[in-house]
Every structure is written in structure tokens, then in C-alpha cells.
Amino acid sequence: MTDGHRTIEQWFEDRDWRPFRWQRTVWKHCLENKKGLLNAPTGSGKTFALFMPLLINWINQNPESYQQKENNGLQLLWITPLRALAKDLELHMQDVVDDLDIPWQIQRRTGDVSSSVKQKQKRRMPEVLITTPESLHILLAQKGYPNRFKTLRSVVVDEWHELIGSKRGIQTELGISRLKGMNPDLTIWGVSATIGNLEEAADVLHGVHPNAERPIIVKAKQSKKIHVHSVLPDEIETFPWSGHLGTKLIPKVLPILDKSGSTLIFTNTRAQSEIWFQRLLEANPDLAGTMALHHGSLDRNVRDWVEESLHSGIIKIVVCTSSLDLGVDFSPVDTVIQIGSPKGVARFVQRAGRSGHQPGADSTIWFVPTHALELIEAAALKDAVEDNLMENRDPILKPFDVLIQYLITLAVSEGFKPDLLFDELKHTFAYQTLQPDEWNWILNFIQNGGESLTRYDEYNKVEVDEDGLWRVFDRKIARRHRMSIGTIASDSMLRVKYLKGSNLGRVEEWFISQLNTGDTFWFAGRNLELVKIKDMTVYVRRAKGASSKVPSYMGGRMSLSSNMSERLRLKLREANEGRTDSIDLETIKPILDIQRTRSILPDEKQFLIEKSWSNEGCHCFFFPFEGRYVHEGLSALIAYRISKITPITFSIAMNDYGFELLSDRDIPISEALEKNIFSEENLIHDIMGSVNDAELARRRFRGISQIAGLVFAGFPGNQKKGKHLQMSSGLFFDVFMEYEPGHLLIQQAYDEVLSTQLDEARLRVALQRIQNQSVIIKEIDRFSPFAFPIFVDRLRERLSSEKLTDRIEKMQRQLEAS
């Protein structure tokens, strides 16, 4: 045993702890400079698994002086997806080095660290730096960054499962590729919760190195039992058929809160968390003072206070969103409540894991359905948890927008040489298939701003200096770039602030634009009166009385994962065949009976289409039960194919169970079926047609244009200056489509639609399944329980094959007739 080992083992012994076997395994691999992925849940001791080997090594290399040597330069870079986690990690690691009298500094470098600390870090890096993918790129955008990373030995990417399926994951891959470019011997480890594709996750993190060893995967032993209970309505007959709030079940939730110690209540949206907080207070005013609210739009200080108060026991109940999904060991939490469908098994299990942190303790989670059909989901969830059916997190491949942002990042700091960088990129998982012609297009794009030059052009961005380095010289452009590093597209947000001073958080600009001075709205768990708007800040004061307006936040709606939708179809079949011992399916029986009376309850051999009329026009409902994403694609495809039969305009709505086509005129569904609209023939061609007609790519382009730096959100507090440089992503899409249809960013928008909403493979499977079923068209007078929730959805897609002028004339006639 080495000195380092002895010292660390002693540290554990002093605390009456013993390192787990898997922790020792990770130490061993790290000390042998192996790379890998640790599969461990939050609160399992993963920090010690990955931090200790660094200390062991340090002690072994400096046996006499490890307690004296200061200012040793950066040793460990710890990347975490959530700023909230960084603080906890910092305290944890600082405790260890303090106990061992090692004069190391552990610091954070995230968006909410003060600028004076950031300035100090520029001159002197701490030994351990905890940061986010975005902040890592901001570091790479600073002049002199190679010096700051010179001494770096290890990189840890925490909660990798949260990053891998997103563009933040790409940012992480790129950041690591640059660090490896400077120091190929880095020891790199990822940490991930259990997902369906752990091995792939390890490969993505470590990149493509054909001759290197495969990364090692270490699994932390975990045998925590999860108890899932559902909160059932007393009378299913009066339980709503649609809706996503679920507040009807508050009387049933209150007793659970009474019986539990500390409790986390997870909601799916920020608006929903605000409303639940408000209604719970109304239902039981005694909760005031022991209950708090936590979501991503609240001010950092507010959230910190909530987290600390929960820790210390001042607060008993927190109503939250995914903002508390990750990290922070809430040892005191003993109950978790999930409001509405979590949409995926992994997310549900992770949330359940927030409770019962003591070794050997079980986790308990309550599921509160927000409408009747979610009871089927409850049954499906219980099964899926039992079978540990975790979803895959699929990596994104070759997004040009993130690459363009990265190139500018390097160009504003030290510059780059294209040949050397191309080589680094080819070793990342994301860009392993980057082609030379694509690379040249991108280089031309950042240097010349796209195709053909005219003599009036003054495009100014990246220039090549005399050493062949590609650099940005314009300081304004560099400054604007540094401010917009990141991959999370957001609407323009306004700060919400009391007149007297303290910050409450942020709301979307479009919500505030609907309010007038003196209006009240509910935010941060308080009723507020709008006093004035100035410099991108909404000044408010507390208001008396109730207010119904709650900021709703735009943003995509989550889809049921394919694992979950498969289970859902299975449960539906069980319910149909009456062979079930599930309490949830038992409870929903009366609703399914109504479905049978008004329409049919399709069995596995039937595909149901319901057709009905209202004063809005003709409705056709289709029920594939494939989850929202597949329905987005399928509905666009079916609408497109029907629109080829006759000029017609559709508005399209969908949920996880089915979709609706609505038109002002009769939908020729029988004729369409004769033409076989579910056929696989010409699938690619028709998918492309529907992408265009349904404007799906145009919408995708919104995020892409922000990341690639086309759309500039403006400087905080100084909005005016940026105003003349603002053009909406939609307008950019239009001009590129018109003038540069081969634009790689436009191509990317199409690729993203095709890989998410209109995934050809998944569509094909769905179509094949439908083709093996017999299609049943039911003409119905009253909306069925399946159809109703889709019918009331206001968020709609459009698709039309009518001539624009014909449509306007029709509208004109209707207007005159009314």
C-alpha cells in the first residue's frame, strides 16, 4: 500500500467509514491512468471515487511536501450539467483537503460566480475547478487559455446521462477534444446514472481512438427498492378527461404530506409548479412557511435559499420542476410525489431516488395522474420500474451549429489552424464523419459569410493572420460571441425585481407584453403587481388578493419515451381483455366503458379512427399510441397524403395517445384509406413533402440560428444597442431557403426534424404495425374519452394544400357571413 492510499484509507477510518469495493476499483483504474465511465446514482459516493485517486497520486508524488506546496496549477476539471451541483461538490472536496491539510483550492467557475473571482482565476487557477460545459467554452474563449490548462491531469464529467442526448453533450465532447489536443495523457472519467446505452455513452465521451483500449465501465452496487403508489380519485366518473394540472387531487395529496417528513413534489412545467404551490397554500394555509417553490426561472439566490432550508430542515415541502432532478444530496427527503406523467422511466426512477438516501432505505414515490387516461400510464410505469426498463439517451451527430460556435470561440482567444483542428474533431464521436467538403464550407462560412461576394460586401468575422491562425480581431464581435456561448435556446427573458431591490427571477418577454401596468400576476409563489418595465427589468410590488395569471412558458412538450409507449399499449390490451390485477386499470374501467359505448376500445388487431363534426368543422382522430414525437411525424405525413387527394387545409393536434386532423370541410377519410395512406411506399418522398408543408424545419431552425450566432439576444440591460442587429430566425430561414438552399445550417434543420420528429425508422415500424391491423372508422356524435384531450389542445400545427388566395377568399366570405 502506498503512502497516498494509507492517508486516504485513514481519512475514511477517522470517520468510521469504509470505501466501497467499487470505489477502490475506480481508484485503481484512475491510478493506472485508465479512462472509463462510472455508473452510479446520486448520493452514492461517486465524488470520493473520482476525487481520491488524484489525492493519492499527489501524496505519492510529493510525500514530504504535499502539505506545503501551494499554487500548483489546475489538477482536476470537474464538469457538471447543473450549477446547483457545483456548490455542493465544492464544499465536499474542500472538506477533504482541509482535513488532510493539503493547501489546495477548490473553486467553481459557473455563470453565477462573481466576476472578481473569475478575474482571480484568470491569473491563478485553483487546483480543482468545477464548471459547466458552457463555462468550459467561455474559458476556451479567453486569451492565454493553454497556460491555464498546462498542469491539468484529470477531467471528470458528472451526470453524463443528462448531457449526452443534447447539444450540451456536444459542447462537452468538443471541450474535451481541445483539452486532449493540448495534453493527450489526460485521465478522463464520466459518471452516469443507469441508461439503456451505457457502453455507447462511454464511447461518446471518450471519442474515436481506434488503437486505444476500450473505456472501462465500473458499476456501483445499488440495490435500492422503489415503491410506486398511485393517488387515485374517489370517483373516476367526475375525474377530468383532459388537462395537465392535476389540482383536483389536492385533497388526496394533503394527507400524504401530513404523514410524510420532508417531501419533494415534482411537476413537469414551471407554470404547473407555481399553480400547485398556490393551490396547496389555499387548501392548507398552515403550509405557509414550511413549503417553498423551486424552478429554473427563479433567481439563483432564491433557489439557494430553498436548497439550504431544505437541508437544514426549515422547509419541509418543496414544489419543484426538473430543476431538482439532479444532484444535491437531500438526505432529509423521505417522500417524492410526481404530478402528471414523467414521460420516461429513467426520469421517474431518478426522481424516486431522491427519497430514502440512508443506506438500505427504500425509495417511495407517489404518482398523481392529471387526467383519467394517465391511470393507464401509472400501470405502465409500475411495470417498467419493476423491470428496470431504462431508456437510451441517443447522442446527437454532427450538428454544424455547435461546431460553428466552437470555431468562433477558439478564434476569439488563441486562434486555430484548420488542419490541426480538423484532426482533433475527427477523433470526437460527434464529428467523426465530418467530410472535407463540409469542413471547407464551414470555414468559408465563418470567413466570408457564405456564398458569392459582391463589391458592396464588408463581411467581417474570422480572418487568417500571417502565421496561418484563424482569428477574430474585431473586439465587438468577440465580446458579442463571448456573451452568447451556449446551446440552450431561450426566449427573450425579463428580470423580475421588487421596487425595493431584491431579485425574484425571470419571465418570458411575451408573457409580460400581455400585461398592463397595475395588472397582477403570480410568480415565485407570490402575487405581484406590475409597476413598471425599464431596461429589461419588470419592477413589481406585492399585491393583495388572488390572481389567476401565471406565466406559462413556451417550450417543447415532452413525448412519452418509446419504452413507455410500448408498455402503454400492453396495459391497454390487458385492460381490454379484462385480465388485470392492477388497481389503476381497475379504477379507469368506467372511462374505458364510456369509450366502448361512444366508439370502440381497439384491441391489438384494430386501428381506430374516429370521425365527428362540430361547429369548427370535421375532426378525424387517429390512435396509434406511439408517443408525441412519432405522432408529430405521422400526423404530418397523413395530413400531407390526404392533402394530395384534394386541396384542403388542416390544423393538427396531438398527444401521446393519438392525433387529430381538423378541417373546415369534410375530410375524405374513406377515399384516403383506399389510396392506402398508411403505406410505406414513397415514404421518404412524402416525409420530405410534409416537413416542408408543415414548416417543421423552419421551427427547428430557431435553436440552430441562436447557437450558430445568427440571432443575437442582445446585451443584458443594454437592449437598445443590439436592436439593429436583430432579425428573427424565421426570416433567416426564409432568406437562406431563397438564396442559399444548400446552406448547411438549413440542411441541419431538416436533419434534426428527420432524426427526431420524423425518424424514418420509427415511422416505418409504426406504419408496419398499423398495416397489420384492420382500420376501423367510427363516426361518433360525442367526443370519446380518447379523443377529448386531443380536441381541447390549443397548440396546433398546420398543413395546407389550398391556394393561399383561395383560403383568404374563404376567410373573407366567412367573416362577411358572420
Binding site: 462560412f445 458592396y456 464581435i477 387545409t649 443575437f712 442587429l725 432568406v735 395546407s800 393561399l804 383568404i808
Partner: protein, 215 residues
């Protein structure tokens, strides 16, 4: 489509312009020339064809209508000067018979020497007959006598119909004593106005002007 205001005849054109027949005047607003150049100079790769397209559209419109005068209701040039101004100047020189009057808007911040060189008559606002031409008429302003033509807003309207269908279109927006012109420039965006406060709305789609009346 032709409308009559205070006994004068105006032709509303789907090219997003008005032909004032009695005075042989072509009226346009919010061209935002130089927008692509301004973006490109700041490192944002807006296609430079945007500028060229707008000038071509102006050119063919002027050639078609053959007016004595071109009246621009502000926001001729998008921002600080860039070389795309010379693209406009070149066009201007090829039409030196044409009188060009610019009512300045909030975007028209170039030094006056540029306007002089391009031989433009510059006014803050301009009164003629019983008509007032201005870039933007603030809401609280006293409704002076006469009828106002203005721009600035880039008006758009949302049409709805059965089956939860809707469309957004640029429009001429007429309310009491005022007509707001749509932005002439391409890629300038729309600002949706409520149908309720309008007397008449003339939406534009596919080279055609429609007509909605709100009594």
C-alpha cells in the same frame, strides 16, 4: 385596388406601395436598405442578396408606375453607413429625373451629406393638400386636421377561419384619419395589429390585395 380619400385617388399596390394618381407620386415606407450589410459588417452572415432584391423591387416598381416623385415614409436605410448605401446611390443616379423625398424615420441616422449626395429632399414630416406624411404618428398626438399617411409599424394582420385556421399577412391598415403602410423591404418582419381598431384592412397575399371592412 383603388380607394378614395378626401377626393383624391390612391391605388394600393400588392408590391406594398401606394400610387397617388392625382400627384403622380409613388409612396413607400420602411425599405430598410443596408440591413444585410449592417449585419455582415458585424459578423452576422445575413445573405447580401437581401439588399439587392429590395433595390430590384423598387426599380421595377418605379419603371412600371413611372411616377414624377417617390415619397418614402422613413427607414430608408437600416442603420450606420455601410457599402450597400452605394448600391442605392447607383440606382438613384440612374433615375435622376425622379424626385425623391424622404420623411426621416428612427432608422435614418446617416449624416446629411449622404442624403444630399443622393439628391434626396429631407423632411421630418410633410404636409400637402389635406394630407400629412410622417414616419410614425404617436398615439397621444393631437389628431390634426387632415389625413395621415405613415409607416414605422410594419403592420400585419391575423386572419382566422373555421377549423382553427389562421394566416398572418402584411397589410395596409386604415383607421380613422390614418393609413399605415406595410414595410416595403423584404425580411423586415410583421407587427400584428388588432382588427378591432381598424376601419379597413387590406391584407396582401401573392400579388393580390384583399379587403376586410369592419363596420
Amino acid at each position: 385596388m383603388t380607394i378614395t380619400i378626401l377626393n383624391h385617388t390612391f391605388q394600393l399596390m400588392p408590391e406594398r406601395a401606394i400610387h397617388w394618381l392625382d400627384e403622380s407620386t409613388l409612396i413607400v415606407s420602411d425599405l430598410h436598405l443596408g440591413k444585410s450589410g449592417h449585419f455582415r459588417k458585424s459578423g452576422i452572415p445575413a445573405p447580401h442578396q437581401i439588399n439587392q432584391t429590395n433595390i430590384c423591387r423598387l426599380n421595377s416598381l418605379v419603371n412600371q408606375v413611372q411616377p414624377d416623385r417617390l415619397l418614402i415614409l422613413g427607414d430608408l436605410f437600416h442603420s450606420d453607413v455601410n457599402r450597400e448605401w452605394f448600391q442605392f446611390e447607383e440606382w438613384r443616379n440612374s433615375h435622376n429625373q425622379l424626385n425623391v423625398t424622404l420623411i426621416t424615420g428612427n432608422h435614418d441616422t446617416l449624416h446629411s451629406s449622404f442624403y444630399n449626395a443622393a439628391n434626396l429632399d429631407i423632411y421630418q414630416q410633410h404636409k400637402e393638400e389635406n394630407f400629412l406624411f410622417i414616419h410614425h404618428q404617436p398615439e397621444e398626438a393631437e389628431p390634426e386636421a387632415g389625413f395621415i399617411f405613415s409607416g414605422h409599424i410594419h403592420p400585419g394582420v391575423k386572419l382566422r377561419s373555421k377549423g382553427r385556421q389562421s394566416l398572418r399577412l402584411p397589410c395596409f391598415y386604415q383607421k380613422k384619419q390614418q393609413l399605415i403602410l406595410p414595410a416595403f423591404g423584404e425580411f423586415t418582419g410583421l407587427y400584428m395589429l388588432s382588427e378591432k381598431e381598424a376601419e379597413y384592412i387590406y391584407p396582401i397575399a401573392e400579388k393580390k390585395i384583399f379587403y376586410l371592412s369592419h363596420a
